[in-house]
């Protein structure tokens, strides 16, 4: 498997996924869309960790362990983020990121 696909190919896929997620997180108006972009970025970080583990150090388990911790953090982040979106929707009646400007000076 490591002979068929070079490590760089996997890294480029992960980088592309990260940049797409970054664009989504920065530019979507819908707060749920922003959260989706963040999830894509976390996924690309996981791809990197698993790829480096597979190609460079397949004997040690550190890479998948960190991937599992990232998945844990992503689950916690999604739960709290969506709860915040629902709370924002209750008090502002909108989920658009640029409509929620209560801290504007």
């Amino acid at each position: 498997m490591t002979r068929a696909i070079p490590l760089e190919a996997v890294l480029v896929v992960a980088a592309a996924l990260f940049c797409i997620g970054l664009f989504g997180a920065l530019s979507r108006r819908n707060l749920v869309g922003v959260l989706m972009g963040v999830e894509l970025m976390l996924n690309s970080a996981n791809i990197n960790l698993v790829a480096f583990w597979r190609y460079l150090e397949p004997r040690f388990i550190t890479g998948p362990t960190f991937a599992i911790f990232i998945i844990t953090v992503a689950a916690a982040e999604a739960a709290v983020g969506l709860a915040m979106i629902i709370a924002i929707y209750r008090s502002w009646n909108t989920v658009n990121a640029d409509s929620v400007d209560g801290l504007r000076g």
């Binding site: 498997m1 490591t2 896929v13 970054l22 108006r29 989706m36 996924n43 791809i47 689950a75 989920v95």
Partner: protein
Amino acid sequence: MDLLIQIIFGLLTALIIGAAMMVVTVRNIIHAALWLIASFFGVAALYLLLEAEFIAVVQVLVYIGAISILILFAIMLTRHISGEGERLLTRHWWAAAVVALGLFGAVLLPTLAGNAWGIPLPTGPAGTPEPLSGVEELGRGFVSEFLLHFEVAGVLLTVALIGAIVIAFEERSRRRRVLTLAEEHTLNQRQKASAERAAAAADMAD
């Protein structure tokens, strides 16, 4: 065999990147969530290709089974589903595009140019399986080397659970409070006044 793996990798790459592009560009947010699920499936298949079976299963369970469903629930609870007639992106979306493309270029250049990864060459005759750590080492790591991290992750999940409940249900518990008599009276009056105003507006329209 190598060609087959390369073809599968190409298809998976197209699925992951294409679905991710649809996530950030499609207008209907429900469709974006469904494309997100497709992208997660592609990533899980990529883990299988990289021979990380346990991570692939965890990806399907946690991302597709939990996070996607949570996102769909949040979309349905916030009602404005299609967003027709509204702007999809913020005003400065081109700046975000420049930042993303610049980052992609900045990452791509050293990845492709500086090729000193030090990948260990496969030893032994071709076809012999490489020594690969699996679920057993993962479990051992969680109870020995990564014990503290494991405990901290458990605490983090508990805190996130409690925090999500507190944040999302605060308003509703306040609204469920039993009204006092005076509050009910003012509420009734306000409703009556608004009904009269609506009737007057209908008369004006006639």
